[in-house]
């Protein structure tokens, strides 16, 4: 088997709380190619977000191995980990911008953390704000921006340090459809322009359809199905995916024939 860019092997994670143990990830193994846009789907509580956080070790897996570009993430010391995290960018459903900082200074935060010199930081902030189309909003505060603009700042912050991987945790779930689409387009463009590997966690089938080339389905912490988006959508094997596809079909195609509203 050839070396994939991201290799996840036998990842396990359990939360222990009030006498009962909840296994969130069970023996998860996965390969993701360089430059791919890879979707992780599942209903809420399936372990998608935990999986994503194990990749940059915002969550510590109990056992298993994550290897990216040959380096073993799971074996890094805390100090090495901090440096390594700069190779990841992450965007969030709730954007998680700093309200105390202007747009430009939110982006600059990543660069300050990476110990970049001031002139370099300024230059990079300008570049990246131009990329996400927010040059005219650089001195605004997050409180003055729309949801879509906030997510653009989130993307700018995530990309500032030129990461190799972008992790997206339900990045479009809090946005209206039109705005969500523009964010998905931006993510696509970034993937094409920089060859960035992108891992997308979502419960929205449209996101998978529109964005992802490959997809893995999580059900109760286990990968129950994976393959190319086309395969999985045309011939869903898992219960989760069958329900997703069915609901999606009844919302679009089947609506005129059998819909309650007619």
């Amino acid at each position: 088997m050839s070396e994939a860019f991201i290799q996840v092997r036998n990842l396990n994670k359990a939360y222990i709380g009030r006498g009962q143990t909840v296994e969130v990830l069970k023996d998860v193994s996965l390969d993701i190619d360089r430059g791919d846009i890879f979707g992780i789907v599942g209903s809420s509580g399936a372990g998608k977000s935990t999986f994503l956080r194990c990749l940059n070790r915002l969550e510590e897996p109990d056992s298993g191995e994550v290897r990216i570009d040959g380096s073993v993430i799971t074996g890094l010391s805390h100090k090495e980990l901090l440096a390594f995290r700069r190779k990841f960018g992450m965007i969030f459903q709730q954007f998680n911008l700093l309200d105390a900082r202007s747009v430009a200074r939110n982006v600059e935060f990543s660069l300050t953390v990476a110990r970049q010199a001031k002139e370099q930081r300024q230059q990079r902030v300008n570049e990246i704000l131009d990329l996400v189309g927010l040059t005219d909003r650089r001195d605004f505060y997050p409180g003055q921006l729309s949801g879509g603009q906030r997510q653009r700042v989130g993307i700018a912050r995530a990309l500032a340090n030129e990461p190799k991987v972008l992790l997206s945790d339900e990045a479009t779930s809090a946005l209206d459809p039109e705005t969500a689409l523009s964010i998905l387009d931006l993510i696509k463009a970034i993937n094409r322009k920089f060859g960035l590997t992108i891992i997308v966690v979502t419960h929205q089938l449209e996101v998978i359809k529109y964005l992802c080339r490959h997809v893995a389905v999580l059900e109760n912490g286990r990968i129950v199905e994976q393959g190319s988006t086309r395969e999985v959508l045309t011939n869903p094997q898992s219960h989760t995916m069958q329900v997703f596809v069915e609901v999606n079909a009844s919302l679009t195609g089947g609506f005129l024939q059998g819909g309650e509203g007619i």
Binding site: L58, A83, L98, T112, V113, A160, N161, L167
Partner: protein, 231 residues
Amino acid sequence: MSEFLKLLENLFSIKTWEVIWPAILETLMMTTVSTVLMGVLGLLVGTVLLVTRPDGLQPKRVFNALFGAVVDALRSLPSMVIIILTLPLAKLIIGRSWGPGAVMIALALTCTPMFARMVESGFLDVSRGKVEAAKSVGARNWEIMLKVILPESLPSLVRSFTIAVIALISVTAIAGWFGAGGLGDVAVRYGYNRFLTHMMIAAVLALIVIVVLVQVCGEAIARGIVRKRRL
């Protein structure tokens, strides 16, 4: 009626304010120095409480429980008792266990535990997502503390600080017992011991004005910050 007029006359007589004015300055002096001490100590203690929590940046479960218990134990003591307990400490630091200097240290320590818990609570209100986002770009713990948690919680910190300063002013009233003077001392010595009602009222009026000013300033600063951020 004439008695009331007499009281008013006494209340605003030069003789009264010759006593009250220096007392106001003493109270302001005591409060200012103790406030700075309390602010610094409270932020430090609050940070330690936050960071060592089981879900904190640097979890130290046992230490956090013990340290938290000490802070809460100090909080449950009446301020008079804390002042008595901390005066020997003041002696260690400045060589005297009485007078304004010693009392200022004692006053600060009286209000520090409460302010520290308020600081911790303000810090905890910063969403975990913001901390997570900072971690995701590789921020070090001190950067998360100084560049994320502290600035994000600033409006709440300013409000907590205002409350703590006012609590501190109310404690300065006891300071007179330990030779530090101030408005509380005037109220006790003239108003209570010598039945000079107008002195009592004058001291109370001065205290009210000081407290209201502190509250108004604190609120204005907090609101200014929020407005600047367009929240």
